[in-house]
């Protein structure tokens, strides 16, 4: 049930496997409304898996646990239903769809997610134009095919363009900063802040670098290792980790250090 007290995202005891391999081994995560959280973690620790499972990727098997968006269970929802309810995923590796024009795709997506009205007329076009300007995406991209031949950074900017147009309640950004240049990171951070700060929305930023976190200043940082969140803390945890590395962090966790 939607209520002001509900966190925008709540993940409880999530265990997930794929093709017989167990990947997430019990994730608990709460993102209150208006907050931005970050997840950092080793390669292969399960960050993308977490993001995919929140979005409802059909290939994963949920072994245990539950997920709630503003108090509403996501468990039985298809990916498109989650999207229409306000979940958005910025992909680590956005897929290209040859032959599908960007402009057409954006209009159709806005129409599916926010309703036909939102995709019609001059209001949509103005919004699109200003968002593209903000993200430094040339107009010519509208007639290109979705992610087809885009450079790494262009793909990431295009993910954020979609974020801005779809106006989700929960944005999950999977390594959106990887491959972006310095200006790109700044622009994207601005975008994320504007979608979340002072609203009832929330965001989960998956990243390997503290740079983007300096711009968005997350409320919480979680460290994932081996399919578990092993430590959580304030923004400074990201810097500690960057200075000392994962082996050090694991040692601290074993010693029972609390990073709060």
């Amino acid at each position: 049930m939607a209520s002001d007290d509900n966190p925008i995202l709540e993940v409880r005891g999530l265990k997930v496997g794929i093709e017989g391999a167990s990947i997430l081994k019990g994730i608990d995560l709460i993102i209150p409304k208006g907050e931005i959280h970050a997840i950092m973690g080793r390669n292969g620790s399960g960050k993308t898996t977490t993001a995919n499972v929140i979005m409802g990727h059909p290939a994963y098997e949920i072994e245990e646990g539950e997920m709630f968006l503003d108090g509403e269970s996501l468990d039985d929802m298809e990916p498109w239903e989650r999207s229409r309810e306000g979940v958005f995923l910025s992909f680590q590796y956005p897929q290209s769809i040859p032959g599908l024009q960007v402009g057409n795709f954006l209009r159709k997506s806005v129409s599916s997610v926010r309703g036909e009205e939102a995709a019609r007329g001059s209001e949509f076009r103005e919004k699109l134009t200003s968002a593209m300007e903000e993200l430094d995406i040339p107009k010519s991209f509208l007639s290109r095919y979705v992610n087809d031949g885009f450079s790494g950074g262009e793909k990431k900017r295009f993910e954020i363009l979609q974020l801005m147009l779809l106006q989700p309640r929960l944005a999950v950004l999977d390594e959106t900063d990887s491959g972006l240049d310095i200006d790109g990171i700044r622009t994207v951070s601005k975008g994320i802040n504007s979608v979340v700060r002072g609203t009832e929305n929330g965001a989960l930023i998956i990243t390997h670098y503290s740079r983007i976190l300096e711009h968005v200043n997350p409320d919480r940082v979680h460290i994932m290792i081996g399919g578990k969140i092993v430590a959580s803390g304030g923004p400074s945890l990201a810097n500690l980790l960057e200075d000392n590395g994962y082996d050090w962090l694991e040692e601290q966790v074993e010693k029972g250090v609390d990073f709060e």
């Binding site: 409802g56 059909p58 498109w80 229409r84 956005p94 040859p98 599916s112 979609q162 779809l166």
Partner: protein
Amino acid sequence: MSGDSEAREAVGDYKAGWHDPENATIRFDFGLSEKVVRDISELKQEPEWMTEIRVKAYRHFVERPMPTWGNTEELMEIDFDKVCYFLRSSDQAGSSWDDVPDDIRNTFDRLGIPEAEQKWLSGVTAQYESETVYHSIREDLEKQGVIFLDMDSGLKEHEDIVKKYFGSVIPYSDNKFSALNTAVWSGGSFIYVPKGVHVEMPVQAYFRINAKNMGQFERTLIIADEGSSIHYVEGCTAPTYSTDSLHSAVVELLALPGAHIRYTTVQNWSNNVYNLVTKRGVAHENAKIEWVDGNIGSKLTMKYPAVILKGEGAHAEVISVAYAGNGQHQDAGAKVHHMASNTTSNILSKSISKDGGRGSYRGMAKIMPKAENCRLNIVCDALILDEESRQDTYPTMEVGNPTAHCEHEASVSKVGDEQLFYLMSRGHTEAEALGMIVNGFFEPFTRELPMEYAVELNKLMSLEMEGSIG
């Protein structure tokens, strides 16, 4: 009636599957014989030379074995004795829709033909069963000497031109079905564009089969004189029946020096129609022939639009898509024959199969020894939507001159789960996502179509995708 609804179930969302009550003014008994052939010719009061060609063609048809390629099993299932070879449903071809019998006019209304005519076409013929029931051309084009008639009227009014070119590109002896068509042809279009005249907006022919077990054998001849241009568009549909119908057309194009012919087809026959068509054009010096060929419907299609590059500097373009759903086999492709130097051709084939459908690309590209500096580019892409479906390619290339520059690319792919997930995460259902991928795959073809056709094709494919996901 129960047979019809069964068939309708089998083809799902086919939108053009209704049929009118049959009000034939003349209907031949089922089956084919020399007498049937002579009767058709007599009924049409044709000149003797045409009767002779028909009879020769008939004899050749009888002797000629079935093709040994394509789908030989399904070809063997055709029962030529259970086909109606001639059916007249209106005593005259009207030049106003008011002259067309009500039932038939309603059918073309439902198919949107009169509306399209007003919006974006230079001329229209509408064929219903064996003959043209409506025909019109814009006055300004007529004044410039453009001839746009149904083939029967073409023969009556311009016998000299027809005699000169009929069968010159595709002789009856070309293959079994060109023989059949030559023997019993009826309807089709006859077009002549005078020197230097450019027909800006497309002309359209629409072919509708209404009766059960019907055979439609239209014959089309387009002659674009020097430096002229025309875009011809054809569409076809039929009701869904549980018994088969046969459509076997012959289309001959002549592009004289510097002329440009574009021939666009969107074939959406119901899934009980055998579609066995021979299409070929001759391109003279610096002429250009383009086949834009879409095959969405039918039970079995065997069709390989061909261009003979006869004059120096001629260019051929064959862009085709095929969609094979449940119970369908699309055996399509292209043929180019480089006979002169500095000729170029591009072939792009896109094929999708789903629900056990079967798509085949069959191509033949030939470069003659005396043709210097020819360029040939072939790209065949296939997309398979599930495990039950099938795609094959049978490309043949004979390069007889070492200066030729030939490229051939072929790919077969499946729709990726990650692509689907990406689109679904943007609010699109699985069927919508699949539709977007499929329409994207066809886009290089779709963008060549007149806008109205492109929109229709996209809708059609989206509907097909909805049918598949339960």
